[in-house]
Symmetry: C3
Subunit: 280 residues, 3 copies
Amino acid sequence: MFECLFEQASLLKKICEAIKELTDQACFEVSGTGISLQAMDSSHVSLVSFLLRNEHFSQFRCDRNLTLGLNLKMITKILKTAGNEDRVTLRAEDDGDHLVMVIESKTGNKISSYEVKMLDIDQQAFGVNETDYKASTKMSSEEFQRICHDLLVVGDTVSIEMTKDGITFSVSGTETSGCITCRQSGTVDDESVGTEITLQEPMNLSFALKFLNLFTKATPLSNSVSIEMSADQPLCIHYDIGDMGNIRYFLAPKIDDEEGAGAAGAPAAAPTEAAGGDDE
Amino acid sequence: MFECLFEQASLLKKICEAIKELTDQACFEVSGTGISLQAMDSSHVSLVSFLLRNEHFSQFRCDRNLTLGLNLKMITKILKTAGNEDRVTLRAEDDGDHLVMVIESKTGNKISSYEVKMLDIDQQAFGVNETDYKASTKMSSEEFQRICHDLLVVGDTVSIEMTKDGITFSVSGTETSGCITCRQSGTVDDESVGTEITLQEPMNLSFALKFLNLFTKATPLSNSVSIEMSADQPLCIHYDIGDMGNIRYFLAPKIDDEEGAGAAGAPAAAPTEAAGGDDE
Amino acid sequence: MFECLFEQASLLKKICEAIKELTDQACFEVSGTGISLQAMDSSHVSLVSFLLRNEHFSQFRCDRNLTLGLNLKMITKILKTAGNEDRVTLRAEDDGDHLVMVIESKTGNKISSYEVKMLDIDQQAFGVNETDYKASTKMSSEEFQRICHDLLVVGDTVSIEMTKDGITFSVSGTETSGCITCRQSGTVDDESVGTEITLQEPMNLSFALKFLNLFTKATPLSNSVSIEMSADQPLCIHYDIGDMGNIRYFLAPKIDDEEGAGAAGAPAAAPTEAAGGDDE
């Protein structure tokens, strides 16, 4: 049997929100070490990798490794019925065909129980290379989300350039062009997250804004985000989930002849580099 | 002449909101004892009964019993122009063909006056049997509204079961089932409304969720709601309006062979049991 | 070169919002004295006239008079990316074909720069007669906005009547009529704006509500609005922008045989009276 308890529904809500825009059906792997997931988006262009470690749950039991094929749209709808501070228990029998979700109000006077049929999903095996990225920026996740959203006004393809001075996002449209620079910030006060650049070499690569905007659905999970790049590697957008785990998104760069003013059409090539032989 | 004054527009707004989703044209009866209405919803499946007693108005005059056929959509639109604390006067001449609504701001510096043509509505005579229900639950009206809304995620037909331990709402869909239990609560603190069960016998009946959701438009009128059931009787959903009156909704149970997983189709039969000979 | 600095993006945002519903392309005139615009709405029925004086900018430079043909929809989208307290610089070269907008966050750590291609717009020359209006009312801009919005519930044409007692807005629809009176208020407290009537003679004219509602997009620019009327003259709706300038809208009255219950159809005739020979 698998059973785990989320003390606050809000965490599970945020995780589902961060994944469901990329893929509406997903296979969660549960084992003695925690819960994980790797999935491509429905257009097979980007990859999401998610991990939540067992030791941070107040209750976690997993007798046997299981693959839970879930309809994320339905799970998300059910979670919306939970208050943010309600407790949520997930449970699956070893040979069962459904997931049980029990939602308890803080007072314990209201208990909701849902049984959701699990899906048979063709599971692809992904491996994520643990790359040593040549350039990375840690910045406010809300700021990153806002920039990705704002630049959609101008066009569909963003160039991300990291130098020792800062990170610049540039977009060219047919009648308008725009660029936004966040300067490397020395000291960071308590309330806001600054911008920290770590460089082995400056980097300038282009990506489809549409996918970056999907990735920023993870913003509520963390105050900060890491944007990590190497030449000939997929971009990695990395959100820590407290010290419990993380969620990472991978997207291949657009190649040069696709770029330029007004480039909108074809999505980036599939991030085949993201699928390697080494399991995490 | 009929004339009455609502010291706060908010009360009249809430009453219209509670009725207008069921029927967009309604006949209000005004008499020396107050204002009342009985109407079936436009699909002739459920019944709403509303009463507001004269003695709680600061000004109330009714020289002759009148039937006011009103376009609730228009009345609601006009009421939206009033601030919640504005005063609203309703006025109709004995032989008039329009209702006058006067809305005064608190300061008295702004006065709005609307004349709305009244409608000739084929008035059906209903009588509501004052039943002694075998099982009833008084609970938070907001909680009831939320449960009716949440269970729509799963399916269209809800079973409501009352036992001495609590009230359980269950829905079965094709791939998902859900049930929500509110436990009988002994003591209730000041801020929240608990759940009180009054039973002559346990009861378990099924209803179309769609109508329950329409009934919960009355939620802003009262902190609590009473859910009252007897075998072979329409369900009664009862909201008190302070000590001024009440609004009650009636809905016939779904019969057994319509129930079951995924049952969605036909609405419940008309609540003919609700129409009896005894006037209230 | 033209360059000017808005210390707070919110002012420029409000100005663009106040104009963009009337015309999505507009020619701003910049000169040593400030920024101005005169434009008809896209249906050529009403006129907007806008002025912002140079001396109230902390930075303002204009070497040569320029006409900036701008796509207001795009400018507004870009301004939405700015926080209300961000600083915005506008810049155009004397022979350039684009406007540069630079948005700086308060901390200075984030800088966004947009280049927007300018448009060739057939510029009509308008002159606005500086009329001595026979009747005018200064009232709360929010109240005026609300009244124009609320009366749409009833019909499309509003009669505005000013007497020494107050200003009355009346609308007749097919089944409903409504009128709203704001009384002349003697003293006005600090928090709310009263209603002040200035009369040489009482006035009662009719206008298309649709345009009044477009004009009230300027409401966030000022707590008060002046409604100014003379017989055989276009109505003037006047908002001051602090002591920096103003925005005024002009609309010809509807002539009598178009009025009456349920009149909805044709828009008012073009305010040809608004276009005179005298430049402001």
